[in-house]
Symmetry: C2
Subunit: 85 residues, 2 copies
Amino acid sequence: MLNPEYIGFFAATLTTSAFLPQAYKIWKSKTTDGLSLTMYTIMGLGTMSWLFYGVLIESPSVIVANCISFSIILFIVTFILRSKK
Amino acid sequence: MLNPEYIGFFAATLTTSAFLPQAYKIWKSKTTDGLSLTMYTIMGLGTMSWLFYGVLIESPSVIVANCISFSIILFIVTFILRSKK
C-alpha cells in the first residue's frame, strides 16, 4: 500500500515552491503591482489553520508544508505592506 | 475533543477564498501583469497532489478544499495564458 505521506510530501514540495517564483519576482522587480494583499493575508491565516489541522491529525507532510508556506507568505505580505507606504 | 475536520473546513474556507480576490482582480482589470504563470501552474499541480493525498487519508476537508482551489487556479492559469497570446 502506498504511504500517503509520500504523496503529501510531493504535494508539499509543489505548493510550497509555487510561492517561490512570486517571491523571487517581487525581490527582483521590487514592485508588488498586481498582487492582491487581501489574497496573501487570507492565505496566511488559512496556512496557519492548516498547520493547526496538521498537528491535530498528526500529519507530518501537512505540518511541514504549511510551516514553510507560511514563512514565504509572510515575506510577500511584508513586501506588499512596505511598498504601500 | 475538538474534531479536526472543523479546523480543516475553516482552513479550507480561508485558503480557497484567498484565490478569489486575485481571480476577481484579473476579471475586472482584464490584465494579469505581475502574476507568475509558473507559480499558478505549480500550485495547480500541487493542489491536484493534495487532492490525491486527501483521498488516501480520507479527509473530507482536504478533498473539498483542493477541489475548489484547483478550479479557481485553473481559471487564473487560463486567463494568464490567454493574455500572453
